[in-house]
């Protein structure tokens, strides 16, 4: 423990032994993380895939965290923070796994404390063009109705992905997926409840709920595109084919939207840039603004401990 009178001095005090201020650093002791890549699986591909799934969760988690102190009711604030925490938990293990497979090394600099964990290096010291999350994860959530539409789409898609991943052969991905499935199902149920209440509520709440789905819709097309890394890993038996996930989201919306008296959005997809999207590090400007806030403290005090 640092004994200083000024909290900022304490944060900046670098003894490299204390706990780093921004993560809890338990990655070395999550036993599954250190398993070798399954036989026949390319290590770099697997690391990239772990980063994709980690960044989807990390970026979405940060977005949801922005509701803290801003939600319409205390109960919803707690709910959104809880969902953010679940996703952060998924992100942390996946970032550690990506780091164990070598993904963090290129982002380490000589000025960083050697004890800085892989997950912290990857979360705080990567620029937006190195994030491999889908652009849905980074979109501005705007109002509460749009956030509920966003959670329904995001959790429905990720639930289908994790359900498939559960039975595949990478021990870390399978373990993360097995934990994630009931959590995502719970989140989807929560948001679907609000979609029904708002959609089948007043004329005004109905309009806002429909506008929420309309705003989210252009980002859904990218969820079902297979990146070459994913295609290779599907063949190796450790990844889920994104093109197979569309039916789950369609089924959930076919069940939910009529009950909520909403219509299925028909808006053109946000286009890829030269065939490249979030999975290649080509993001909307929303991600840069978000990361500027998320990473600023860690970058200002790279050696901070507490």
């Amino acid at each position: 423990m640092n004994e200083t009178e000024n909290v900022y001095d304490a944060l900046a005090e670098a003894d490299h032994e204390g706990r780093w201020a921004y993560g809890a650093g338990f990655d070395e002791s999550v036993v599954e993380v250190t398993a070798p890549a399954p036989a026949g699986v390319d290590r770099d591909d697997l690391a990239a895939y772990c980063l994709m799934l980690a960044d989807d969760a990390l970026v979405a988690s940060q977005r949801l965290s922005e509701w803290s102190t801003n939600a319409p009711e205390l109960e919803e604030e707690v709910a959104l923070a809880n969902i953010a925490l679940d996703l952060l938990g998924q992100a942390r293990v996946l970032l550690s796994r990506a780091g164990h497979l070598g993904a963090a090394e290129r982002f380490r600099t000589t000025t960083m404390a050697p004890a800085l964990s892989d997950e912290d290096v990857l979360a705080y010291f990567r620029d937006d063009r190195f994030f491999r999350s889908v652009t849905l994860a980074e979109m501005d959530l705007g109002d509460f109705a749009r956030t509920m539409a966003w959670i329904v789409v995001y959790s429905s898609w990720r639930l289908a992905l994790m359900t498939g991943l559960r039975g595949l052969s990478d021990p870390v991905l399978a373990a993360v997926a097995a934990k994630a499935v009931p959590e995502l199902a719970y989140q989807r149920e929560y948001a679907a409840g609000w979609v029904v209440r708002l959609g089948d509520g007043t004329e005004y709440s109905h309009e806002r709920m429909q506008a929420g789905f309309d705003a989210v819709w252009p980002f859904t097309e990218e969820l079902f595109l297979a990146h070459p890394v994913e295609t290779r890993l599907v063949e190796a038996g450790v990844a889920v084919d994104p093109t197979s996930l569309r039916a789950s989201l369609d089924a959930d919306l076919a069940q939910l939207l009529p009950v909520a008296t909403l219509s299925r959005p028909e808006r053109p997809a946000v286009g890829l840039v030269g065939g490249r999207g979030g999975r290649d590090g080509v993001h909307t400007e929303a991600l840069g603004r978000m990361l500027a806030i998320m990473q600023s403290l860690a970058r200002a005090h790279p050696d901070a401990t507490w």
Partner: protein, 161 residues
């Protein structure tokens, strides 16, 4: 070996101190080899923020018996079915409705239960079977908030997950 397990299993959960880590099903194993103690725990939720506190508490309690390493394992995943009968009794005594037994999980897709009747949870204070949900998410990752119209008391329910 049973001694070390007994010592470790007395460590309580940081957020629900009426339960021990053993009651909760979070403590997986305690082994000793060449004086080195390895305790393995599993998180309740993927993002459970209490994990570090659990590790510190376990380390402190076991330190007098040797060098301690606390490992975290995600496999098999924790579910509320792992909470012991003793743990369920302690939860109810403390005013937290224990989770229902879920049993083996389906391996296929999880359907949206939009139109399914809401789960029935008995009030831990007055025993009334008709309680209502206030919020699906409570003060910790494990709990939801409910209210009992009979005794008019709010209470926490440990989510069935």
């Amino acid at each position: 070996m049973s001694t070390l397990w007994d010592v470790a299993s007395e460590v309580t959960d940081p957020e629900m101190p009426m339960l021990t880590l053993a009651d909760l099903g979070v403590l997986r194993s305690v082994d000793q080899q060449d004086g080195r103690i390895t305790a393995t725990i599993t998180p309740t939720y993927a993002g459970c923020p209490a994990l570090d506190a659990m590790r510190d508490d376990l380390t402190a309690r076991l330190a007098e018996f040797g060098e301690v390493e606390v490992r975290v394992s995600l496999t098999p995943p924790w579910t509320t079915d792992l909470i012991s009968d003793e743990g369920r009794r302690k939860l109810a005594e403390a005013g937290v409705a224990p989770p229902a037994h879920i049993g083996p999980r389906a391996v296929g897709p999880v359907p949206l239960t939009l139109l399914a009747p809401p789960a029935r949870v008995t009030c831990p204070r007055c025993g009334s079977p008709d309680t209502e949900e206030l919020s699906r998410f409570g003060p910790t990752a494990c709990t939801a908030l409910r209210r009992c119209p009979a005794c008019r008391e709010p209470f926490e329910h440990m989510k069935d997950i």
